[in-house]
Every structure is written in structure tokens, then in C-alpha cells.
């Protein structure tokens, strides 16, 4: 097991290296120039060129990549072209809000979706199941930003229960922290609830048709014991896989949610950096995201063994 984990971790190095090279090449080829953004509307071509030279943007591709990659190997993600602050500091400022949002969203999604899927499968074809499916379809179809505006209007403006926007760190108190995350988590979590509920339902339906489930019923076990003790654990592998994939989707969903709710997270940092071509930030954030994704995949693979002891590494 330990050997497997080490092998997987070592395998992430070339993956992240390839991601770094790909991202760097992509940014190099993308139209846009931070020097032009910095120089502003009033600049001349000469001004822009002087700024490009100062920033080293006039250097050839390989030189720039080498300078950046060697710094990254030493743990230095560089300095933001615009704010002149270290990228690690900028990311550090944004990790808290994004982590809070992602955690709350995952908790909301799993806590709501898995029971919905289980109940849908248990009552397959009945009204409850149809309602679960209806909710799933609606959840998939509703864009995050539309739902976000509806929630803001209802709960922040009309009822005045929750704040419209922003983020409060935990040191401001648990309720301020949570109150700023409830609406964004619901807005962002709805699509994951829909996804996980559908997968849970499908996996459970398959397991519920197995002989051992029929045997469990025949033994006189309570329906809840059959559902949760036998069926759900055996249906867990696809559910956990989808939750893992969901984290990747979450990263893209966070961008929209953070913008609508003005949460100073990594998603907004990324969008802002892309719009103004702040290359060091874009590269740093994508490296971070790809590392997280690789690690989440590893965690998902390892969790299979917990749910299904037949799986060996």
C-alpha cells in the first residue's frame, strides 16, 4: 500500500511538469500582453515596449520557461506583474475563502444528494423517485449564476436573513463565517447534488437487484439496515468516484460563484489574472489546481479499498 502511494506520488511529478509546460506554452501563444494593460490607454507603442523589456517579456520562450521553472522548483511561484506581490502570498490570501466554500459545498452536496439517491432507488418508479429525478434535472439545468441571483433576492434582500456578498474569516465568529457561505454553497452545490443523487440512485438500483440484498430482506433485516449497511456500502465506489470528479467541476464552478457573491477566493484570482494576463498568477494557480486534482484522484483510488476490500494495490 505504502509503495503504491509512493509510486503514485512520484508519478504526479511528470504530470505536473507536463501541465506546467502546457500552461506556459498556452499563455505564450494566447493573444494579449500585460505590458499593454499596465501601460494603459494613454500609452504609446514605445512605452509598451519599454515595460515589456523591464518585465522580461521580450525574452525568448525557452529563456522565460527556464527562469520560471527553476524558480518553481525552489518553491518560488514568482511575483505578480501587476500587484508586485508574491504569487504564494496572493494564493495564501485566497485559500481560506475557497477552501471554506468548497468544504461547505461538498458537505451540503453529499449530505443532501446521497440520501436523495438512496431514497429514489428505494422507492424506484414511485412519486418520491420522480420528485428526486425532477430535482436532479432541474439542478443540472439551472445555471449557477441564475440560482445565485434568485437566492440573493429571496434570502438576502427580501427576507434579509443572510448577507448578499463577501466573506468573513472564522476569526470574526462562526456565524458570520457560515452566514456568508450558506447561499454560495447552495448555489454551487445544487448541480453536485443533482449529479451525485443520480449516480447514487443508479448505483443503488444495481446493487438492490443483487441476490445478497434479496437474501438480507429474506432474513428479516430492517429496510434501513439493508439499504445503509449492505447496499450503500457496495454502491459506494461509483459514488466516491463521482464526488472526486465533482471536485474538479467544483474548481470551475467556484469561479462563477465567487464572482457573483464577491468572495475573494482563488477562482476570482484566476479570472482576474487571465483578464489582465498576469502570467505568474495564472501559472501558479493552475499548478495548484492540477496538484489538488492529482491528489484528490489518489485519495479516491485509495478510498476504493475501504469500500471494497477485494481491491488490492
Amino acid at each position: 500500500m505504502l509503495g503504491y502511494i509512493l509510486r503514485r506520488l512520484l508519478a504526479t511529478i511528470p504530470v505536473i511538469g507536463m501541465v506546467a509546460l502546457f500552461v506556459f506554452s498556452l499563455l505564450y501563444l494566447t493573444p494579449g500582453d500585460p505590458a499593454a494593460v499596465i501601460a494603459g490607454d494613454i500609452a504609446t507603442v514605445e512605452d509598451i515596449e519599454r515595460i515589456r523589456q523591464k518585465l522580461g517579456l521580450d525574452q525568448p520562450f525557452l529563456t522565460r520557461f527556464w527562469v520560471w521553472a527553476s524558480a518553481v522548483l525552489q518553491g518560488d511561484l514568482g511575483i505578480s506583474i501587476f500587484t508586485n506581490l508574491p504569487v504564494t502570498q496572493l494564493i495564501g490570501q485566497r485559500v481560506g475563502p475557497t477552501l471554506s466554500l468548497a468544504l461547505c459545498t461538498l458537505i451540503v452536496a453529499v449530505a443532501v444528494a446521497v440520501p436523495l439517491g438512496v431514497v429514489g432507488a428505494w422507492k424506484a418508479g414511485k412519486l418520491v423517485d420522480r420528485l428526486v429525478m425532477l430535482f436532479s434535472v432541474a439542478g443540472f439545468s439551472m445555471p449557477v449564476f441564475v440560482l445565485a441571483y434568485v437566492l440573493i433576492y429571496l434570502f438576502a434582500i427580501d427576507l434579509d436573513w443572510l448577507p448578499v456578498q463577501g466573506y468573513a474569516p472564522l476569526r470574526d465568529g462562526f456565524w458570520p463565517w457560515l452566514s456568508h457561505l450558506i447561499l454560495p454553497s447552495i448555489a454551487l452545490g445544487t448541480i453536485y447534488i443533482a449529479l451525485i443523487a443520480r449516480i447514487t440512485r443508479a448505483a443503488m438500483l444495481e446493487v438492490l437487484a443483487q441476490d445478497y440484498v434479496r437474501t438480507a430482506h429474506a432474513k428479516g433485516l430492517a429496510p434501513s439496515a439493508v439499504l445503509l449497511g449492505h447496499a450503500l456500502k457496495n454502491a459506494a465506489v461509483p459514488i466516491v468516484t463521482v464526488i472526486g470528479i465533482g471536485i474538479a467541476l467544483l474548481i470551475s464552478g467556484v469561479v462563477v460563484t465567487e464572482s457573483v457573491f464577491a468572495i475573494p477566493g482563488i477562482g476570482r484570482l484566476t479570472v482576474d489574472a487571465i483578464l489582465r494576463r498576469d502570467y505568474p498568477i495564472i501559472q501558479g494557480v493552475i499548478l495548484l489546481f492540477s496538484s489538488i486534482y492529482v491528489l484528490v484522484n489518489l485519495a479516491v483510488d485509495l478510498s476504493y479499498r475501504f469500500f471494497d476490500p477485494r481491491i488490492q494495490y
Binding site: G32, T44, Q93, L99, V164, R171, R276
Partner: protein, 531 residues
């Protein structure tokens, strides 16, 4: 390391991340009188000389001060300067600084700081460069006074030192101002009415300022950037909310106190709330413009550019940009309407009846052969994109072969710097807008310039325009200067360096418990009270 210890460390890291850094807590901030202000853009750079971004200029006005400033009558007033004099030969200015000027770190402001700051500014600003060309020497005299010796009389010296918009000649400490003008400064030490709390700065989200209790305001009433800059709140938080609908909701809910720029479509929504006031506080507004690439066909031919003068209807542009006649209006002048430089010479070309036949005749005379015309646009900039859409339709109506190249602003500003023909990534037309103060005289009206490669994007070569501009610099009497401005405008209708599309104002909205907003082209935060 045991599993338990690893788990404990992980939990500690998670809690510290969620808890945030060691900045002022919400409860501590709430005890102070805090004004929450939603600015026009995100503050990305702390150097108002390195970048011309208006948001950095506005930050500069919070943190720094200027030697002189312009008031609402366009008169130059001393600001950090207490007294000044000009020698009889009009070659030597002597400036004496006010008492009590201090940097945010408690050090006194010295003449050496002012000289280094002006020299750095002059390396980046067009008017500053003109002043630098005519400067023989800046010399400190004592702890409070210094002189400027000119090579020849320059009647715009004080106007240059009082320049209200980017780049503003802000005064910085000498050690900071010695930084290369093309390298960004990182410090935030000024002598202005607010101090930035840098450790609370979260780029893309929040900038925090506190009242500079050492600042001694002038006795005069505030007027634009001049006069007494009296701060009436303890703390100002710039809260950047990128989404307009969210910003409107936050203002409606009272989570923020003042939203600087309200998109026209959200004005009716806010106006319904009796606790919110929506006003126009910018007396000059901004000017939209169509800019041509004069290096390549077809707009290297003046007749093609003139043809557009018969097509452009400024009312259409005003409506497209501002959405409301109250916020947008025609401005048939190459200089800001409402400023002393506004000229109506030849304006009938834009105000008269629109004449498609005449436009088509000029296009034919220009020898247009159906070549493709690329109009650059940026969909993330509504003011740019709305103009792009109107122009594209106009050109199509005249039978021109038009392609609207709609991208984001970052791509547009990169492509507009390309001097190649359109087959090699070039362009023919782009749109932008300038704030009113940037077009109030020939010195700073850079789209008017005709110095070829050194001109603004579009690169017109126009020796006559430069001759008139130089004559304006040399003119000493206001009447003579105005006459030269009229001549420049008359000439511009022939060469058409750009076409002004409309003058518009972006309204501002604030909670009813906020008062004291200044009527000014820049949203200044001194004099503002919150009850």
C-alpha cells in the same frame, strides 16, 4: 510523526487558513466609523506614475498630495505649496511648502522629495516631458523652499504641476521617487489625507485606508483636487465587487455605503429605494471616440475618415453607451465639452443632418475597393462594445465590408499596438473613451497628436497639427490659446484624427446616511460623512 500528530497539524493548518491572517477583526473595524466604497475597478498597482489606470490615480489621491491642483473653475491653486513666485524674466519659479507636511512615517516633506517626484513623473507623462524639455534645473533652497529654473518661459508650468488626471504629479518620498520610472514602486508612503493599511490589502477584493491624523487640511473649501481635504470618517474600505447585480444588491441591503459607478440599466432598480440616492457627481464625464489606423488603407485616406463624419449620429452613440439622455449627450468638439477648451468651430459637421449620400460620395472619391475593414471591440467593456456595434452598422449601411473583431479588452489593447496590415493581425478602427479632464487642452489631448510612429495608436502624421500645438504651448494669453484651439479643431475636421462619439456620465449611488460627496471628475473621499 504519529498519525494523530499529523492529523492535528492538518487540522491546525485548515483552521488557520479558514481563520484568515492577523488583520483587523470585523468587530474592531465596526467600532470605527467606516465608509464602505465600491470603486470603479480593482486596484492592481500602487504606482500612479508606472501605470495610467484611473483606479491607481484615485488611490494616489487618497495617499499622496500634489504641489498644485485645479479647482472647479479650472484655476490652478496651491496645494502642498504655501506660496510661490515667478521672477520678472519668467524663468524662475520659487516654491515654499506649507507648514506641517509630513509623510505617513512621520518624516517631514522636503524639497528634495518634491524634486525627485516631479522628475520621475516627467519621464512618463507627456506634459511632464514638455516641462522637462524646458527645465534647466530644480534646486532645493532650504528645508521648505525650492526653485525651478526654465530655459525659456513656459506659461503652462503650474498647469503641468496641477495636472488632475493620469499621470498626476503626486509627491512621494525621495527614496521612493528615485525608482526608475518604468519600474513599479511597492511602498505606500505618502503625505495625503489617508494612509493605506497595506497588510489588509487583498488584491481583487479589498483596500483599506485609515484617516491620516497628521494631515493638516488647507483652510479653503474643497474644490476638485484643491482646497481642504478634511477626512470625516475613521476608515475607508474599498470593496471591489465585480458583478454589477451583486453590487446593486449589496447597496440595497446596506452592506456597502457608496457605489462609484452604476451601470445605466441598474439605475431604475436603485432609484426605487428611498434609502439610496443616485446622482451625477462628475461634471465633465467621459468622451467616447472612434480611432482610425492611418497606416493602412482605407483609413489612411482622409476622405474615408471624413465620410464617417456624415454618418456618425452622436445621439445614437450616447444612447448606446449611457442608455438614457440624462447620462449621455452629444459633444461635437475635439476638446471636452464643459471645459474652457470646448470648441464649436466646424461642429456642424457632426450636428447637421446625417448625409448617407455625401458619405458614399466621399468613400467613392477615396477609391475604396471593398477591402475588409476590421473594427476591434471588447465585449467585457460595455462602453467600447456598444460603440463598436453602432459603428459596424454605420459602416455596413454605407456599403463597406466590415468585420467586427470582438474579443476581451486585454486582446484589444494588444492588437491595437500592431502596426501591420490586417492580413498580418492589424486593424482599422477601435473605440475607447477618455475621462473629461484628459481632453481639456492640447497638451494632454494625445489622440490629436500627429507625430507618426510616436503618436497614439493609429499613428497619424500631421505636421500642421503639431505646429498649432507648439504655437499653443508658446502662447501666453488665454485668448490667443483659445484661438489656437479653434484652429486645431478646424484642422481636425479635415484630417479627422478621431471622431468624438458622445459625452456621458456614469451615475453614482450612495446610502442616504452618506453626505458631502464632492462634485468632481474624480471620486474623492475626503469631505464625505457617514451618519
Amino acid at each position: 510523526m504519529s498519525a494523530m500528530r499529523r492529523g492535528a497539524l492538518a487540522a491546525l493548518w485548515l483552521v488557520s487558513m479558514l481563520a484568515g491572517g492577523g488583520t483587523l477583526s470585523a468587530s474592531a473595524a465596526a467600532q470605527q466609523k467606516t465608509l464602505k466604497f465600491v470603486p470603479e475597478a480593482d486596484l492592481r498597482s500602487l504606482d500612479p506614475i508606472w501605470t495610467t489606470a484611473y483606479i491607481t490615480r484615485n488611490y494616489g489621491y487618497m495617499v499622496y498630495d500634489t504641489l498644485f491642483a485645479v479647482n472647479e473653475k479650472f484655476e490652478v491653486q496651491p496645494q502642498m505649496v504655501d506660496k510661490w513666485s515667478l521672477s520678472d524674466d519668467k524663468l524662475t519659479y520659487t516654491f515654499v511648502l506649507r507648514d506641517g507636511l509630513k509623510w505617513h512615517d512621520g518624516q517631514p516633506v522636503r524639497p528634495a522629495d518634491c524634486i525627485a517626484s516631479i522628475e520621475r513623473w516627467a519621464k512618463r507623462d507627456a506634459l511632464g516631458q514638455k516641462l522637462a524639455d524646458l527645465t534647466q534645473a530644480w534646486t532645493p533652497v532650504d528645508d521648505k523652499s525650492f526653485t525651478l529654473r526654465l530655459k525659456k518661459p513656459f506659461s503652462l508650468t503650474l498647469d503641468a504641476l496641477a495636472k488632475p488626471s493620469s499621470n498626476v504629479p503626486f509627491i512621494m518620498p525621495e527614496r521612493v521617487a528615485k525608482t526608475d520610472a518604468f519600474t513599479q514602486i511597492t511602498e505606500s508612503i505618502g503625505s495625503g489625507p489617508f494612509k493605506m493599511v497595506k497588510e489588509e490589502w487583498v488584491p481583487g477584493n479589498k483596500v483599506v485606508f485609515v484617516k491620516n491624523t497628521d494631515y493638516v487640511p488647507r483652510k479653503e473649501a474643497p474644490s476638485w483636487a484643491s482646497g481642504g481635504k478634511t477626512v470625516k470618517v475613521d476608515r475607508v474600505e474599498w470593496v471591489y465587487i465585480p458583478d454589477s447585480a451583486t453590487a446593486a444588491a449589496a447597496l440595497n441591503a446596506g452592506e456597502v455605503d457608496w457605489w462609484q459607478m452604476v451601470p445605466p440599466d441598474l439605475v431604475p432598480l436603485l432609484a426605487k429605494n428611498k434609502d439610496i440616492k443616485v446622482e451625477n457627481t462628475d461634471p465633465l464625464g467621459s468622451i467616447g471616440l472612434i480611432r482610425f489606423n492611418q497606416l493602412h488603407p482605407p483609413f489612411n485616406n482622409a476622405k474615408m475618415r471624413q465620410a464617417l463624419l456624415y454618418l456618425v449620429n452622436q445621439q445614437d452613440y450616447a444612447l448606446a453607451i449611457a442608455g438614457d439622455a440624462k447620462q449621455g449627450k452629444p459633444c461635437p468638439s475635439f476638446f471636452t465639452c464643459g471645459s474652457p477648451a470646448e470648441s464649436r468651430v466646424g461642429s456642424e459637421l457632426l450636428t447637421g443632418k446625417r448625409d448617407l449620400a455625401k458619405a458614399k460620395q466621399l468613400i467613392q472619391e477615396a477609391g475604396y475597393k471593398g477591402e475588409k475593414i476590421v473594427v476591434l471591440s471588447a465585449t467585457d467593456q460595455p462602453i467600447v462594445h456598444s460603440q463598436g456595434l453602432v459603428t459596424t452598422e454605420l459602416l455596413k449601411s454605407a456599403g463597406l465590408n466590415v468585420e467586427l473583431a470582438a474579443n476581451d479588452w486585454g486582446t484589444l489593447i494588444n492588437r491595437r499596438a500592431v502596426k501591420e496590415p490586417i492580413e498580418k493581425g492589424g486593424w482599422n478602427i477601435f473605440h475607447t473613451w477618455l475621462v473629461g479632464p484628459d481632453m481639456t487642452n492640447p497638451a494632454i489631448n494625445y489622440p490629436m497628436r500627429g507625430v507618426g510612429d510616436k503618436s497614439w495608436f493609429g499613428w497619424p502624421t500631421d505636421p500642421r497639427m503639431e505646429e498649432l500645438r507648439n504655437a499653443w504651448f508658446d502662447a501666453t494669453e488665454p485668448g490667443q490659446q483659445k484661438q489656437l484651439i479653434d484652429e486645431m479643431q478646424k484642422h481636425a475636421w479635415e484630417t479627422v484624427p478621431f471622431i468624438p462619439t458622445a459625452q456621458f456620465v456614469i451615475p453614482t449611488a450612495y446610502r442616504a446616511n452618506v453626505s458631502g460627496l464632492l462634485i468632481s471628475p474624480v471620486a474623492f473621499l475626503w469631505n464625505v460623512e457617514k451618519k
